[in-house]
Amino acid sequence: MRASEPSLERQEVLKNMLKHDCGSCHGLTLQGGLGPPLLAQDLANKPDDYLIDTIQNGRKGTAMPPWKPFISTAETRWLIQTLLKRAP
């Protein structure tokens, strides 16, 4: 797992994206907005593959766009781990 972690510099970019770009729909504190909340408790019971697919390819019929052009699968995995580790 550690081997596939993004560089520290990239982690900062991803964290900023998570907060501000994801945050424009999911809230800066990720408690939800037009999009659903992304707190650890909301994601805990969802399979990793489902979360990865949602972020990479978006969700049809909702406002969730595909982030594939900007975030690799490994980075998506790292983002999900970061979300799951966030203190409630």
């Binding site: 501000h20 809230g27 800066l28 504190t29 907005g33 037009l34 766009p65």
Partner: protein, 389 residues
Amino acid sequence: MIKPLLYPLFLLSFSHLIHAELRGTGDLGVVIEREPAAIQIINTTHNTALSRVTDLGDLSHASVVFSRDARYAYIFGRDGGLTKIDLLQEKITKRIIQAGNSIGGAISQDGKLIAVSNYTPGGVKIFSAETLQLLADIPALYGDNQLSKVVGLVDAPEQKFIFSLFDAGEIWIADLNEPSTPKIQKFKNVGKQPYDALLSPDGRYYIAGLFADQGLALLDLWFPEQGVKRILPDYGKQDEKLPVYKMPHLEGWAVAGNLMFIPAIGQHEVLVIKQSTWQLVKRIPVIGQPVFVMARPDGRQVWVNYAFPNNATVQVIDVKKLSLVKSLTPGKAVLHMEFTPRGENIWVSARDDNRVIIYDTSNFKELMRLPANKPSGIFFSSRAHKMGL
């Protein structure tokens, strides 16, 4: 200058009052800082920041309205915070948390009521503008006792508020002539997922953008009995929808002569529509998903900013030519723009470069950069006297 000798002697002890600078509020404004959540009070005559008011909760989405005396700013925060700020004393007058998750607000025609639109619990709450005391609660109930997120809340003539129900696909008019007992008129099946709305500057037309449907929903407030009509029903039908990385805002109803400019959704275009016939005049290709499409107050220029990943650029449409005449790069992650009251300058926020840039709109020259912490919305007190903002 005030001459202290003209005052009774006992007043001399209040030396801070006597020496305080007298000023108006017509050239003041508010810049939202996302992180840490604060506002800056700014002056648009001298292009200066005057002060900062802090501890405002979660401002990841925030909007502002002004009291009709333009002394107070009401800040609507994402976390349901409603804060009344005194622009002269530069401090919080009152702050409440009125809901769990909030999107925007409006002030009534008479300036006495504040309405807030909420996602959680879905609905609109009405407060006294003076005391922030709750006067009425309008849950956005639909279907099988569900609550809808509420978007596109605006004030309208005759002491009304109008708003759209994102999940229900409805538009409601709330008559607040008796503030504690609002009269609601509902329009159902207006289209799927209205995501924001605008009111024409004359207060006559309410238009909601539809995220999951073709075209726009139009309500003519002079003829509400005619119901909500769909305009541009065929727009973009054949085109593949592009991903939207930030929802457009419709507040900047840009009207020049008989033309109206709005952001397309899922297309990298600004749409030009003829008012009254509601026909599409032109699709102006731009570099990204437009977020704000705002007309200079005289209507000669329309400024456009964009969603991620094209959010480092701002473009200007010349209304005479109906085409782009200028591209500017104010900084990383441009979130908002605001014209000075008569439009000689525009203030632009660049979130990831932590600055606000002021341009001269006549020659596009940069006049000033002001530091700000993750700045987003910019709101000037001239909004106090405009409907639907």
